[in-house]
């Protein structure tokens, strides 16, 4: 299983094996990682699963679909490495992905 690292805003790091096919958001929810709310459940409709992807990873990820950037407009303190974790599907290519979590989601 690919290992995904979630780093909380306070710096606490969680590296977890996430089954392929789940989203990075679901991986966080199922493992009780604090800092991801995912209010809408993965529908790209709420921007509360917002993460900052480590710079070296950002260009390796599948590009944003229509609508994701629009939702990121509403996220809490977005920057150019912002993604919605519900749109990042865990696969072998994502082995070792590191995401930083914002201070809060809203």
């Amino acid at each position: 299983m690919p290992k995904i690292t979630y780093i909380e805003h306070i710096g606490k790091s969680h590296t977890i094996d996430i089954p392929k096919g789940l989203s990075v958001m679901e991986g966080a929810i199922q493992n009780n990682i604090p800092g991801i709310d995912a209010d809408c459940g993965g529908g790209m409709a709420c921007a509360t699963c917002h993460v900052y992807v480590k710079e070296e990873w950002f260009d390796k990820l599948p590009k944003k679909e229509d609508g994701e950037e629009d939702m990121i407009d509403m996220a809490y303190e977005p920057n150019k490495f912002s993604r919605l974790s519900c749109q990042l599907i865990v696969s072998n290519e994502l082995e070792g992905l590191v995401v930083n979590l914002p201070e809060k989601q809203a």
């Binding site: 709310d37 209010d39 809408c40 459940g41 529908g43 409709a45 709420c46 921007a47 509360t48 950037e69 629009d70 407009d73 509403m74 809490y76 303190e77 977005p78 920057n79 150019k80 201070e103 809203a106």
Partner: protein
């Protein structure tokens, strides 16, 4: 004080269909919702997006689904209390006493919470100092546009609300439109109009900027905005408007003595009752092993919760199971003509 059998909190698809199920078994209900219209997330978050997994409906939009559900419950002539929010509930013998922020009071034997992920509230600026100006010079909605006349207004956001207010206020105010990226997500005609106003010198557009600080004692004097490249720009301004859409907040529900699992209310799957007798939770807000957040799950949960309310509303009666195809009493309740 309004007397009813069941108070339903939330007028999203789950709450609306639950009204139907309550009506079918002959229980009266009243519905309270924080939004100014019915439909919940369907109408607020994705009115135009197609839904493909409603049983027997291959495809419909959030708005169409809402309208069909409203049509289906028409026979019950249910009262909806919109733009209001349940604030307080109190047990009183065999009833619940319920109070809203607008001061409405209800007495009901059961409460069904169909509250989605909570009530919608505007998303706010992340900058700490904003708090002391919110509701005064920092606003997330406009109630009285005359206050902006001949003032400087800094509008943040990239959607239709930000664009529409930029266009509207540019007539009588000095307006800056500030957005975190170059693209705007509002309708193209509004984007074009705003760009035209910029050319005419009536609006200033500042992109790749976000709010970084607010200065002022009792009133705002200026704000600072930070560019993606790190540079800071200072703007003298009178009002700051933020349009970042809505966020769902659980709100007062956390004070009602209900068990909570993160932001969800655990229920049993027999009748979707919570740890509090007579309080049920259905739809996105409830959780149980195997829960999936589908609208169709909310429909099922509402059907069972409605029947769960029966024993509180009619303690001396037994609910007889009936089919809508053949039941005379159901036909009467629906006003079906022979």
């Amino acid at each position: 004080m309004i007397n009813t059998d069941v108070l339903v909190i939330g007028a999203g698809p789950t709450g609306l269909f639950c009204v139907h199920q309550l009506g079918i078994i002959g229980l009266k209900c009243e519905v309270v919702d924080n939004l100014d219209k019915r439909g919940g997330q369907c109408i607020e978050l994705y009115p135009d997006k197609p839904i493909f997994d409603i049983p027997a409906i291959s495809e419909c939009t959030g708005e169409e689904l809402t309208n069909s559900l409203i049509e289906q419950i028409k026979p019950f002539k249910t009262n909806f209390h919109l733009s209001d929010r349940v604030e307080e509930i109190k047990k009183n013998n065999n009833n619940w006493l319920i109070k809203t922020i607008k001061g409405k009071e209800f007495k009901a034997s059961s409460i069904i919470i169909a509250g989605g992920v909570g009530s919608f509230e505007p998303r706010k600026f992340s900058v700490k100092e904003c708090e002391k100006f919110e509701g005064k010079e920092i606003l997330y909605s406009v109630k009285d546009k005359s206050i902006f006349k001949d003032k400087t207004v800094s509008i943040f956001g990239g959607g239709d609300s930000a664009l529409d207010w930029t266009i509207e206020l540019s007539n009588n105010s000095k307006v800056q439109l500030i957005h975190r990226r170059d693209e705007f997500r509002g309708v193209q005609s509004s984007v074009n109009k705003v760009k035209q106003l910029e050319k005419e010198g009536k609006v200033e557009i500042l992109t790749q900027y976000q709010l970084s600080s607010v200065k002022g004692e009792n009133k705002i004097k200026s704000i600072e905005i930070k560019h993606d490249d790190g540079s800071i720009k200072k703007i003298e301004t009178n009002y700051v408007l933020g349009f970042f859409g809505l966020i769902m907040k659980l709100g007062p529900i956390v004070n009602w003595g209900l068990n909570l699992d993160k932001k969800h209310i655990p229920v049993n799957t027999e009748n979707f009752e919570t740890n509090q007798k007579g309080i049920f939770a259905i739809g996105d807000i409830c959780t149980y092993p195997g829960k999936v957040k589908l609208i169709l799950s909310g429909f099922h949960e509402g059907a069972l919760a409605a029947r769960g309310c029966f024993k509180y509303a009619r303690p001396d009666e037994k609910l007889r199971f009936e089919f809508s195809t053949t039941s005379k009493s159901i036909h009467e309740r629906l006003g079906v003509k022979k």
